[in-house]
């Protein structure tokens, strides 16, 4: 039995992952322990402000965590919410699989993926 994931969080996660720049940021962050805004901006063709804005979206979705280190914030990847959203899809998908299998018995027809 899969525990029901937090629905609001999953929506925010999918929104956050819908943008290519944010996916790029996640990829960079997955390659190191923590990174600063300026460090990320140096690797990507966007401004510090742009990076900060995208990191804000990722932070609200729970995908990154900020820690202050001296005068700058450093960001760390938190991958857990990604599996939370995947859990929702797996759970709902499994429910429809079994419902449609029963409907197929009722109305004739094999289940199609």
């Amino acid at each position: 039995m899969i525990a029901s994931p937090d629905p609001t969080r999953a929506g925010a996660v999918f929104f956050a992952l819908g943008d290519p720049t944010r996916r790029e940021l996640i990829e960079r962050l997955s390659g190191s322990d923590t990174m600063s805004v300026s460090g990320l901006a140096a690797e990507l063709p966007i401004t510090r402000q742009g990076v900060a804005k995208h990191l804000g979206v990722l932070e609200r979705a729970g995908l990154v965590e900020a820690t202050r280190s001296g005068r700058e914030s450093r960001y760390r990847l938190r991958p857990e919410p990604m599996s939370d959203a995947a859990d929702w899809m797996a759970q709902v998908g499994a429910q429809w699989d079994s419902r449609l299998a029963r409907l197929g018995e009722l109305l004739g027809g094999p289940t199609k993926e």
Partner: protein, 134 residues
Amino acid sequence: MHARPPEVSREIDLEACPEEVWDALTRPELLEQWLAESAEIEAWDGGGVDIRTDDGRERRGVVEYADRPERLVFSWWEAIPDESTRVEFRVIELPGGGSRLRVTETRTAQPVARALAWGDRLATLRASLTYAMA
């Protein structure tokens, strides 16, 4: 930006014609054979959804769109103040006879309150139309 809400989509090909599939989506005695232990879906805009699943959980919802026999859309939720999700059934007639049913459930990030308000608006609209035609 292409932020898409999470969704799950499934398809099944059935020997039944679209009208028969529609009946299975909307008649309680048929819904109870595949969707849930007890199920009522009022197949009109603003109609109610009342489902009790096999494990005793209850879901309520509101029909947003019903176009027999092709398209049925409703939002449902397990408990207020949960977020509602949106379910869309599409029934397509197959050239060789039979039907294809596609179901898509989307996590809309729409609070239940907004889904309910949508149902209320439709009910009000329906009532005023009925009144206007009387």
